[in-house]
């Protein structure tokens, strides 16, 4: 009997097909594979779960050992947000879920949805060029910096921290052939972004708004001026869900803006939901450096009808192999469509409200936790968005505090050191959730 996924796996059907092609057995098709490299035994795999019921039972047993947190204060690059039902409905549409690389004709809807994603992000970012999503925010930062390097022809990159050390790891690995990366992080030595001097050999200054610790640095516009004064590009990583309330990086001088769209309606999926964006002004010297696909809108032969196609295709590795910019391939398109639906649902008011709600709740959480004995909140004079650092000054380490929180039904923040943890609040939290966290910390932070 055949397998349900494989129509022609039934032995009788197979015989008929073999006869039709004049082959005695499938072995004929493998004649070019030398015997020495043939696997002369079955693969050693678990017995198959051929019925759907057995498969579901097996998976359910595994999934039952996962416990989504009832109340979590984790962020640090992957964010809990409310996922509107319409976003999920569209993401689950079989046509979008299973389409791939069709032409702009039979896949017109895919092209339009992705062009609209680019456009909706463009409004949010106040920039005219946005790519079809790349893998994730890490890749977006790495590519944005190499784009800046190609534009300026310079080697040195300044990465102004705090930046997630994992992201720095990715950036360093990715830019290594062309660039030296200098990470400047004043978190521990009191050094300020406003003190930074940018040398004339610098290709790009990279900074985040908000940064890894959630801080919106007041010196961002000043840093843009310093970068531009020496002909360096100003590259800003940002959290797009902040931009209804927080200024777009382009408005204070960013040349390339990048980040992760996971906050825009995409489930966390244990870190599987990340997807990256890169945006610039509409200048040929910048556009020519994108490795990603960029869709553009064009008329058709019918009045009032339009279609979509690749802009400036002859910069991609699809067109030029190793002579293209970096490479292009399957990346994160469906996440782009989801983010587009999210932005369309939210509209200008929704984006402003969610930005303000998160700003207000973050400020409240910092203030409330700072009032707990043996807890301090660094960066007290700055404004933070979603993420913020909490410092435990008692005898218990941040990891120990997290264990005690978990025993009380709360998932604490990401542990940064013995004393520090990165907590996060978003619109899914209510003021009462913060109060509950504070009350438990009053009990355990000693």
């Amino acid at each position: 009997m055949g397998h349900p996924y494989i129509p022609n796996s039934d032995p009788e059907i197979r015989k008929r097909m073999l006869a039709a092609v004049g082959a005695a057995s499938v072995e004929e098709f493998y004649a070019d594979i030398p015997d020495a490299i043939r696997l002369h035994r079955p693969l050693d795999l678990p017995a198959p779960l051929r019925s759907e019921a057995e498969l579901v039972r097996h998976m359910d047993r595994l999934l039952s050992r996962n416990k989504p947190a009832e109340l979590s204060f984790l962020g640090a690059g992957c964010y809990q947000h409310h996922l509107p039902a319409v976003v999920e409905e569209i993401a689950n549409r079989s046509e979008f879920l299973t389409a791939y690389a069709g032409e702009p004709y039979e896949d017109h809807g895919r092209f339009q949805a992705l062009w609209e994603y680019q456009s909706l992000m463009g409004e949010l970012l106040e920039l005219d060029v946005v790519n079809v999503p790349t893998y994730d925010g890490f890749q977006a930062a790495g590519t944005a910096l190499r784009m800046a390097g190609r534009v300026t022809g310079r080697r040195r990159l300044l990465v102004v921290g705090p930046v997630d050390p994992d992201k720095v790891s990715k950036i360093v690995d990715f830019v290594r052939p062309d660039h030296d990366v200098e990470v400047l992080d004043g978190t521990h030595d009191g050094w300020q972004v406003a003190d930074l001097v940018v040398g004339a050999d610098v290709a790009a200054v990279y900074i985040e708004a908000p940064n890894y610790h959630g801080v919106l640095d007041a010196a961002l516009p000043t840093l843009a001026e310093r970068a531009h004064a020496v002909g360096a590009l100003f590259v800003v990583g940002c959290n797009p869900i902040s931009l209804g309330a927080v200024a777009s990086p382009a408005s204070y001088g960013a040349d390339i803006v990048c980040g992760d769209i996971q906050p825009l309606g995409i489930p966390m999926s244990f870190g599987g939901g990340n997807a990256g964006f890169i945006a610039t002004r509409d200048e040929e010297r910048l556009v020519r450096e994108f490795p990603s696909r960029l869709f553009g809108v064009v008329p058709t032969v019918v009045e009032g009808e339009y279609g979509f196609g690749d802009v400036f295709y002859d910069r991609t590795s699809f067109a030029l192999r190793e002579e293209g910019k970096e490479w292009v391939g399957t990346a994160s398109a469906l996440n782009g469509i989801m983010a587009g639906v999210y932005l369309a649902l939210m509209g200008p008011r929704g984006m402003r409200e969610i930005g303000e709600t998160i700003l207000a709740l973050t400020a409240y959480a910092r203030e409330r936790l700072a009032a707990v004995p043996s807890v301090t909140v660094p960066n007290a004079s700055s404004v933070s968005f979603a993420d913020f650092v909490v410092r435990f000054t008692g005898s218990r380490t941040a990891a120990e505090i997290n264990t005690l929180l978990l025993e009380r039904g709360i998932q604490g923040g990401k542990v940064l050191s013995d004393t520090d943890a990165l907590f996060c609040v978003t619109e899914v939290h209510a003021r009462e959730d913060v109060d509950r966290l504070a009350a438990v910390l009053e009990e355990i932070a000693k």
């Binding site: 020495a36 595994l62 999926s269």
Partner: protein, 523 residues
Amino acid sequence: MSASSPRTPVPVEDARIAPKPGLRRFHQARWDEPLIFELTSPGERGVGVPVTDLPVPALPAGLARAEAPRLPEMSQPHVLRHYMRLSQETLGVDLNVDVGQGTCTMKYSPKVNDSFVRDPRIASLHPLQDEGTVQGVLEILYRLEGLLKEISGMDRVSLQPASGSSAIYANVSMIRAYHASRGEGELRDEIITTQFSHPTNAAAPKTAGYRVITLMPDADGYPDIEALRAAVGPRTAALLITNPEDTGIFNPRIEEFVRLVHEVGGLCCYDQANANGILGITRARDAGFDLCHFNLHKTFSTPHMCGGPAAGASAVTSALEPFLPRPTIEFDGSRYYVDDDRPESIGKIRPFYGVVSNLVRAYAWIMALGAQGLRDVAETSVLNNNYLISKVLEIKGVSLPYARGRRRVEQARYSWEKLNADTGIHSEQIGYRVADFGTHYWTSHHPYLVPEPMTLEPTESYSQADLDEYARILAEVAREAYEEPETVRTAPHNGPIHSMRDASLEDPGTWAVTWRAYRRKLA
């Protein structure tokens, strides 16, 4: 008709349903849908947001948004309807006999696997949750690595790469780290690949700073072994090669290729994008490779999602294990845990652990098939391909260049050179017309080494009737090319839109990547 009216007998032929014609009278949805910005209706909104009476802190100078983003204002049903229409104007695999998207392994993605990743016990997990609360997903990742180790023969597998290309880059990074660890990092600055390997096998090493040497096919379409002999040397870092290549031709001298590269101290890295026809038949390790990668969205069935998220898996021998992306997932006999303490690692390729939703799907797919099922996948995809070849080669104007008389593995690259010479119709135009019958068609990657190329890959998901239908569509379009070429030249006719006037896409003065750009330049 009232009960009392006299009955006139209906002739049987008026009630009988005629058989379907051989070709589908297809017409795709054509909604003539406006751009989303044209649907704005000020005052409407699509979703409510929690608001708070807590004070909003004042932002530093220049960091408060001055002007609201010019997003459309739309009610919820209007947003839904717009995107529903766009989805109907998209031809997903679930709707069509998708054998025309060669190299992409378009197969059935089982629906039950989607249910696992929509489950909040996957979808709602934060990657940094306490390990004790995520033992199930860590076990899935650990077990998936084990399955792929057996399927490839390799010693360790990283599931972190986001795609096939991302996995190729991770492999190149590991190759660099390996040579650097032996003091040969500077010396070995060349990577060799082949013309019929995916473009990323050339582009990723170049991005990583390597000089790329591309081997062209010999007269029979096999990668030229004499060219390899001439290319290898002390500067060789690695060979990156696909087998079978995008022509569907298996390189029978692959062991010799591997040996020549190993003899000069280079590594061999196997792009297994085309593994669908050789699962359980031959493995990367058995052919002597040091690294390989799989595209889980191709061979292992995770849906293609309009172009990702995908998932890649980089597999290595123990000699390269220290350089794997961090973290790895480990098991101590009682619990699963994340090992981020890997000092020689190339570092992070992607945030956290990979595209976990697709890793879960791939795991479930392998578990539903087992060893015999994977072998059935391979053998059926190869059988389907050779069956389709026999059908396609009956069509006027098409040929199968290279390796004459040899069988192909899981796909085939054909040429319409003769049809083009006879009619002036190009392969791309055939593709636009094929879509009028409700399916896809693809030429090949650039450059077109095979003239007027067409690449077909009928995976295990299609039946004999499906393949016959696809062949009939090609035969009909070829007939049209000869007898009524204008029909082909002006295609598509039955799709969501008509021929585009797309010259503006290459001109910085007219290209419009966003609605903002369109408004500024063209409105």
